[in-house]
Symmetry: C2
Amino acid sequence: MATEEEAAAPAREMPTVEPQVWKACAGTAARIPAVGSRVYYFPQGHAEQAGSRPDFSTLPSLFNAVLCRISAVRLHASPDTDEVFACISLDPRVPSADVPLPGYMTPSSCPSLPEVADGGGGGFVSFAKILTPSDANNGGGFSVPRFCADSIFPRLDFNAYPPAQFILVYDVHGNHWKFRHIYRGTPRRHLLTTGWSKFVNSKKLIAGDSVVFMRNSSGQILVGIRRTSRFCGPVDYSPCGPSAAALVNRGSLLAGTEGFSSNARGRVPATSVVAAVRLAGMDLPFKVLYYARAGSSDFVVAAESVEVAMSVRWTTGMRVRMSVETEDSARMTWYEGRVSSVRMNSVDLWPRSPWRMLEVTWDEPEILQNVGNVSPWQVVLVSASPQIESQFSVIKRIKMLESSEFCGDREGDMLFPVTELKSTIVGSLPSSVFSYSVFPAGMQGARHYSIGTPNLCDSIMNTNRRVLNDLQGVNALRKDDVFVELKIGGTSQSGGSSPPSQGGIQVLDRKIPEPGSDPVKKTSTGSIQLFGQVIHIDQPTNVDANRESEDTEGGDGSHGSSFHYPHKQLVIQCPRVSAIGACQ
Amino acid sequence: MATEEEAAAPAREMPTVEPQVWKACAGTAARIPAVGSRVYYFPQGHAEQAGSRPDFSTLPSLFNAVLCRISAVRLHASPDTDEVFACISLDPRVPSADVPLPGYMTPSSCPSLPEVADGGGGGFVSFAKILTPSDANNGGGFSVPRFCADSIFPRLDFNAYPPAQFILVYDVHGNHWKFRHIYRGTPRRHLLTTGWSKFVNSKKLIAGDSVVFMRNSSGQILVGIRRTSRFCGPVDYSPCGPSAAALVNRGSLLAGTEGFSSNARGRVPATSVVAAVRLAGMDLPFKVLYYARAGSSDFVVAAESVEVAMSVRWTTGMRVRMSVETEDSARMTWYEGRVSSVRMNSVDLWPRSPWRMLEVTWDEPEILQNVGNVSPWQVVLVSASPQIESQFSVIKRIKMLESSEFCGDREGDMLFPVTELKSTIVGSLPSSVFSYSVFPAGMQGARHYSIGTPNLCDSIMNTNRRVLNDLQGVNALRKDDVFVELKIGGTSQSGGSSPPSQGGIQVLDRKIPEPGSDPVKKTSTGSIQLFGQVIHIDQPTNVDANRESEDTEGGDGSHGSSFHYPHKQLVIQCPRVSAIGACQ
DNA sequence: TTGTCTCCCTTCGGGAGACAA
DNA sequence: TTGTCTCCCGAAGGGAGACAA
C-alpha cells in the first residue's frame, strides 16, 4: 500500500546521460578508459579532486597506484550544476589476460565510447561557446555564433519580419527551455532573447562558463553546461549505489545543506576518496567519480599509457610536449617545454610517486601558468637532450647518468632504492616494477632515440603485488623491442606528417579489442604503438591525424567548433613506441 | 593535517536553538515531555507525520504504543524553513521505578523546560503575528501591531521626522536582517518597510504564516517563523546522529534535491518512521523528530496522561472539552462537543488502537472542522451522560452497558476481547492492561461521577510486556480510590474556580518527581490528580488557572500576545483523578 | 488600531539598433 | 562576424497617505 513516492524515493537512481551528449559536454580533454581496459588508479590524483584534504591516517596501508580493470562506467550529469561526470567502477582484482572479464569487450556495457557515426552533419552535432559578459551579465540575450545557428538551430525564415522563431532546447536532465531566436541588428546577427536570461539565472551561469548546444539525430536541440573552474563545492550524489559512495552520504548531506566553503576546488568529498583508497587497498572493487573539468588531471589512467611513460628515465632538460585543451574545450593544442626538475623525494604520504613528478618550464609560461607539475604520461617526450643544439651536452648528460646510477634490473637503484621504499610508512607494500630508463640519443641523431634498451631501473611506483606481477610481462616483451622515429608522424606506417599546429597526433581511434585478447597483449604480438596509437601490423589501420573538420565552418576558426568529435577516447600521450607488459 | 573543512564537515551537528526561542516559535500547543519522564510512543501518530505512508510490512511485529523514557531532547530549527522541531531520544527499556535513570531529574539535561524567569517584561518577550495578505503579498511592508512595537522593538524617537529607525533582527540561525521601522500614515501606525520584502521572499513567507518577534534578555531582537500547514516536503536533516536517522539519509538526500511532492503533509520521511518503529520493537533506544505544528497531534505523550485517559470507558454521548490553540498559537481556547462514536474495530495495522479512537461532534463544528478523530488524552471528560438534562437517558445508558458487557477484570470483554486481540497480525504481542471503565454518574448528580470503581475492563491498548507489568500496579492501587468532583477547579484544594472562557485548567505546573518515585505512584500515596494536575496532599500546591497575563496589552485582546509563556510543559488533558498503574 | 487600497516614483529587466573590434 | 554600448519602454518593486473595518 506504499504510495508511489515511497516506492520511488529510496530506489531513485541517478539518471544517466547519453554518451554523445556527455562527451560533447565534457569537452575534448575528457577521456574515460573503456570498460574492460586496464588502468592505474592514482589515489594522489583522486585526492586532488577532493574539496578538502583527505585524511588517510586511518588506512592500514597506502600506495601510489593500483592496477585495476574498469568494470563499469556510468555517465551522469549533476542535478545542481548540469556538469557531467562519470562514475567509474574499478576492480583491482585484475584477472589474467587469458581469462576475459565478464563484461569485458562488450561494447554495450561500455557507454564511454560513442562511435560517432558519421563525420558530417548527419547525426549528432554540437557547438560550445564560452559565455561573454554580454551573454551572461546583462539583461540582454545571447549572441549566437553564426556557425551554431546554421548547424544546430532550426533554419530561420529570413523572409519573415523580423526573422525570428522560438526554439525548444532540452538540458541534460530532459527539462526544456524555450528561447526566442531572432536574426536582427545592423549588421544582422543571430541572438537568443526571450527566455535566455531565465536560463542564465536558473543555471547560475557566469561569464566564462560555456554552453554546449547540440542537435541529436532526432533533431532535438540540447544544451549542456561546462563551468569555469571557480564555483564548486562538493557535490556528491552518490549515484553509484551503496558501495564506496555510501560511506559518504552523511557528509555530503550536510555539505549540500549550506555553503560549505564554496571556493573548494574539488567536487568529491574527501571521505569518498579515503573510502575508495581503503577498498582498493583491500583488493575490493570500488567506484570513483570523475568530473571532466579543465585543469583536473585524470587519476584513472590507461595502464598502457602509464607503463610506456614510466619506461622513460625522466631527467632534467628533456624537451616535452603536452596537449592542452583550447579555451573552449573544442580542440587540443600542443605546448612545448623543458623538464626543469624531476621529483625524486617523497611528497607527503606518497613516497616516490610518479604523480606530477615532472616540473616543466614551458615555452609559453603565460598560457600554462596554471599548470603545475605534470605526470609523465601527460607529456610527450620530444627530445631527451637538454639542448637540442648541443650534442656535447647530451653526451655529457648521458655519461653523467651512467656513471651515477644508470642501473639494470637489479634491485637497489640509488635514485629510487627499493630498500628505502620498504622503510617508508608504506612499507607493507612491496616495491614495484616499472622499468625506468633513459634511452641514449644519437643513434639516429639527437631527435631520435630508441626504446627498450635493457637498461631498466627499478620503478618509482611502489604499489602492490598486482603491479609486481607485471614485471614478468615487461621482461618477456623485451624481445619485441622496436625502434621508431621520434618525429611526429614520421613512421612509414602513418604516411604523411601531421602539422603540429593542428595538434599533431592526439587521437587514438581506439578499437574495442576482441574478447580474450588484451590491448597491450595485442601490441606485443601483432602491432606497435606510436604515441599511444596502436598500429596493427596485420590489418589496415586508419592512422590519419584526425584533424578537426572545420571545412563547414570556414573563416579563421579562431572560435573553434566541436562540430563533431573525432574518436579520441583514449589519448595516450606517451613518448614513443614501446612494447611492454602483457597484462596478467 | 586535515583542514578545518574536513574536520568540520562530517562532524557538523545541527545547531540547537535556545529553549526560550524554540518555545516561542513552537507556540503554546507544543509540549515536549521532560527528560526522564515516562511517555508513550504511538507509531500511528508518528506515521501521520510522515510525508508518505510508511511501509511497516517489513517489520516483524507492530504495536499500538510503547512505554518509553525520554533520554534526551534536542531543540533545532530547520535550516530551510526556520521551523522549529525537536529531536527526542526515547528509550523503551524503562527501568523500574526504584532505580532512577541517569539524567533523570537533572533539569540541566532537559532543554525542553525553560523556566520562564519572570512574569513581567524583564527577560524574554515574544509576539507572534499571522501574516496578512498585505504583509506577505504586496510589495509593501509589514504592519507592526502596536504591542509588538512597544514591547519588543527599540523605542522610536517620535520627535524625529519621520519617526523611523533601522532595527537589526536575528533569525533562528543567527543570521541578521535589517528592517526599517517607521511610524507613519494617518492614523499613525508602526510599519516595517525597507528590508521586509527581502525577508519575506527569502523565507518564502505567505499570508497565513506567522512571524514571531522576540527580544531576549540581552536586548537582541529575534525573529522566528511558524508556517501554516500547507507548504511541506520532507525535510530531514537527521540532526540526531547516526542511529535511527542514519537509515534515512539516502532517501532524504534525494528528496532534498528536487521537489519530491511538495504538497506532502509530513515533514518526516516515511522510512524514518519505520526505522523508529523497528528499533522500538526491538527494545532499542530510538529517536524521533517532532515538529511542533498546528494540527499535528503529539505522538509522544506523557504516560500519566495516557494512563489516566485510558482509565475511562469511553462511550458515545459523553461530553468532552478539548483545548485548541488560538489561530496565532498564542493561547489555548476550549471547545466542547459530544462523543459521537468510539472506534472499536481495527484501523489498518492498528488493532484496537486508542489513537484517535474518539469521534466528536463539536458544538462549533465550523471552527473545528479540520479536527478529525481525537485520542482520549486530548480531551477532558465533562460529563459521561449523553444528555445532561436527561437523568433518564443516563441511567438507561448505564443499564444498557451493564446488560451488554459491563465486565470486571476477567478476560474476554466483549467489546475488546483479549482472545480476539491475540488473533490479529500482532499476535506476537501480549494483550495489554489499561483499565477501561465507565463510571456511573448520578451519585452526586449528573455532573459528578466517581472513579475507581472495580468495574474495569481490559484495555484496548495491546502493547508489549513493559506495559503488561502495570496490571499489578493497577490492582494494587484500587484501594486508594478517591472521589473527586468533575467540575473544573471545583475541589476543596484548589479553592476558586477558573472561568472556562479563559481556558480553564489547561496548564500543569509540572514538578519533576523525586528519584525513585513515580508521579502516578505518588498519586496513590500522598496526592490526587485533578484534570491531570497532581495535587500533593501533604504540601502546598499552586493550582491557579494560569491565565495569560494580558494586563500589559489591554484592549480587546483580539490579537493575543504570547508576551510570556506560563509553565505548561505537560498539559495533561485527562478527564479526572485516577489512581492506576504504578510503573514498574 | 490595523488591513487594504490606490497612487506614484524608482528600479530593473530586457529588447532594439549603433558601433567598434 | 560578434562583443559591447546606449537607448528606451514596460513591468515590477516598494514607500506613502487615504480610508474603512
